[in-house]
Structure formats: C-alpha cells, structure tokens
Amino acid sequence: MDRRFYGKLVLRGKIRAVTGLHIGAQREISEIGGIDNPVIKDPHTGLPYIPGSSLKGRLRALFEVLVNSQLNNLKAKYPSLSNYSPGSCRPQNQENCGKFFNKRINRGWIHVCPDYNTALNCPVCRLFGASGNDSNFPSRVIVRDAFLTKEWQDKWRAGEPLTEAKIEVGIDRVTSQANPRTNERVVAGAEFEFEIIYNVEDLNQWKDDVKNLLTAMALLEDSYLGGSGSRGYGKVRFIFEGFEFRSAEYYKTGDKNHVISIKAENKSPGEILGEFDGLFSEVESKLGAR
C-alpha cells in the first residue's frame, strides 16, 4: 500500500441547472395524498445545495456504464478489466461472479473491485475508490458539496425564489388511480459552485485519471443529476473556472509559489478534454513528463 504523493489538482467552476433540479431530502415514496417532496437544504441557511455524495455517485455511475460498454477495448490499457465480462451479477445474485457490475448495494448492483491491487489497475476504482472485502483502495477524487454561488444567494436574499413546486401525477400501477404529489425543485438557471480535488499519486496515471474524470463530467451533461431525470429534471452544465495544482512543496512550506494556477474560464469538460495537453503543460513539466 505504498502510495506516493506529488500534489493535488483542484478543479473549480459552476454547475448550472439547465432544467429544474430535484435532489431529495427524504424517502421518495409516492404515497396517496401527495406528500410534499422537498429538495435537500442546508439546515442553517435553508439554501439548497448539491451534496458531494450525489455528484460523485452520479459521475461514478455514468463512468462505470461507459467502461462496461467498452470493456473489451479497454482491457489492454487496464489489466484488471480482464477479470470481468460485460454485464451484471444480478442474474446469479452472487457478488464477483465475473461480470463487471459485481457488488450488491441493497437492491442495486454496481461495480467495485474487490481488493487494493485490482482497484489500482481499474480505471473506475483507482479514480473513485473501492471498499473491498480484504483491502480498500481510497478514492483519488474528493467531490465536495456544491453550494449556491454568491450571485444566486444574493438573488434569494432579494426575494427571488430558488425553488418551485411542481405537481406530478403518478398513476398507481395496481389501482390505476391518479396520484398527484408536489415535487419541489431548484429552478432552472440556478448555479452552484463545484470543487473536485484529485490526488496525484502516480506520474503515469494522473493525466489518464483526470481525463476519465472530465469524461464522466461530460457524460453527466448528457444525462441528469438527481431525481426524475426521465421527466426532464436535472439537466446540468459544468462551466469551468480553472485548475490549481498544489504541489507537495506547497503543503510543506505554505509558499504559494509552489502552486500552479490554470485559467479555463467558461470552458466545458469537453473543451478541456480537447485542449488537455496545452492546458496542463505546466503541471506536466513540474511533475516531469513520463
């Protein structure tokens, strides 16, 4: 478990809700009578936010689905993928039966490599982490809560509503009765600040990891975040501000000269992927090209 440390790459920017966004604060059970279904909010300020767990979970899920669909092409690059064939262990109902989606979380099946060394050679687990049976591989990525931007907090203080109530009519599958309920959602246009921290532990893998992370972000833009995605909720865009590479020397000394700042204002994950080598050339020369 010898993990080196070269520094941390901090990715920063805004998440814009392109459509209404619903990240729930309670069990989403449709009960007769229409239970109010609120969005998650900070208990002190009452302002909605996007939990780091939701954002990270979604990025991981979308990236897992991508890797599963490309499994055979990726085996040469990521040795652990040779352990898996595409699909889910659900039919066998037994973990690690050889399929890619190999771990049961309550009723769901997701991908998690079973130990440290397998995780190290898997594009999903070495980035997002793996809690295995014998050994864990701690995530190289930290996704913190995304809080409303200052601008949107000010709008809220000025009396502009941040959330809206949307009445959804569900049809009970058994009784065919209409079952209206109120869903609260964050209004389209609202913006949150994101911060994702990537730990540089391997000089041969960091660029690949960061590209995979950006790919997952691009996938999320084409998918949805939070509940009711199939009904058009939760479409988001990432609008980058920039990157900061904080080297190990910075942490040792506190000297900001050991921090590299990269501007990437208003770029999307796709644009950053397209210009990756140019944007990260200074970080690369600092770390030493491999």
Binding site: Q26, S88, F101, H111, I142
Partner: protein, 282 residues
Amino acid sequence: MEFRAILLRPKGPLTEIPKADTLFGAIASAVAVLYDNKAVEKLVDAFKGGARISSAFPYFNDTFYLPKPLSVELVDFGKEYGEAKRIRRAKYLDVRNFERALRLEPFEAPEMNVYEKVSIPRVVLDRVTNDSALYFWDEVRFREGAGLYFLYSGPDDVFRDYIEPAVRLLGDTGIGGKSTWGFGLFEPEFSKLKIDAPDSEYEVTLSNALPTKKPVLWRIFRKGGWSFERRKPKMTFIEEGSVVKNDPGRFEELDLGLSFRVHIYGLTFPVPTLLPDMEGLK
C-alpha cells in the same frame, strides 16, 4: 497560559467533531504522506517529550468554546443561581466562563447554535435496472461564521515542521470519515488563544486521554474505529473535561499488521483547575 489555536474553517460537513486521538492520527498520516514514517516517529517523540494537542471544539466568530470541567458538577452554586439545569447539561463554555469554572466561581452556560446534526439520504442506483437503494447517515453542519479549532502547546519547530504542513494538507484531504464526499475539508488558520488558569496541582484535560493512573474526576467512553484501513481495537478513554493530577497520559502503540506501528494518542492536555474541598476527593 497561551496556546496556539488551529482554526479549521469548514468547507462542508463533518461526520463528527474530532477528538484529539483522531486529530493526531490524521496529522500523523499527513506527515507520513508529506515526508515518511521516520518523520512520524520524530513527531511521536516530540509529543512524548511534552508537545500536546487538544480535541477539537467549536468556535463561532470570536467566541471559542471549551469543555466544561467536571469539577463544577460537584459545586452547589445555590438555588437562586437560576440556570442550574442548563449549566449541568452544558457541554461547552466560552473562554470567560471556562476560566470562572476553573476557579469554581459562578459561571454561565452559553446558548449554543453553532452546529447542527442532521440525517442525510444517499441514493444508489442499480447500473443496469436503475433500481434505487437508499441510505441515511448523520452529519454535522456548521452555521456561517462557525467552525472547529484545536489547541497546540509545545516547541515552535515541531509546530512549524509538522503541525502546520500536516494541517495544510488535511484541509484539502479531509479529517474523519466520508472525505471522498468532501466531508471534513477545511481552510486552516493559525492563531493563538489565552486561558487564564488558577494555580493548582489538579488539571482539567482538554483532550480525550488514556490515563496512566486513577484520575481524580472522570467520565469514560470506549472508542475503536479504523486506521489505515485496519480495524482498531476498542480502547477506554477519559473524556475532555475530566480532572487528573500529574498525569501526562500515554500513547498506545498498536501492531495492526502494517509495516509500521500505529500510535494511538492518549496524552492529556492539562489546564490547572481548582477542586472543591470534599471528603475523599483530594
């Protein structure tokens, strides 16, 4: 007495308020990441030689909270002293009232609304069928202007060479569980805190500790947990606010089957306190 105060301005929630052993474990692993295991041994030696950290306590703007000394629970401040109940229930005192409590003088317990413990849902979707599974967990969220701090006492070079770098790294790494979701991230700030303490041979500890002898007044709790992905055995600590007499506390060295020994921090963080004159106490 003047101590260094390390402010941790939270950038998100924490799973719990970290005690001294958790803080020390986090600092030691940060030192190992930035330097090596030899540096960790040097750090441990410095603490065995007298350096100390406290547990983390809340602050709100300029108000710093400290654990209520157990000694005041033996004092009858009188019925007319209105808020007796709240005083008994209080866990924290601001510095001024903490200083009064050390002298067994009447004090007030603050109304605190600094942090909130909440239960948070997390949904996991089946990657193929989209079936959802739901969990809940508890988290601690701070109001704006509030956060945590801990105290350091000891040599300046130990602070400069180990504590400062470690805390800087931990700010971007997270302290405590669930750091992968941004829990325990913070912006550090290095400051100082004065505590005016009486002369006494009895001391209240501001850290949870593993005593080397029978404490004077104590409350215990058991704590296990995880270290370097290995399970730690449960150990019995005395709580912050317990009173000891001339007891430095101790490290417990654990062999968890790693290439190095894990040091569980159990040193006291002593601040002198008066003790009521009672039969059998002294």
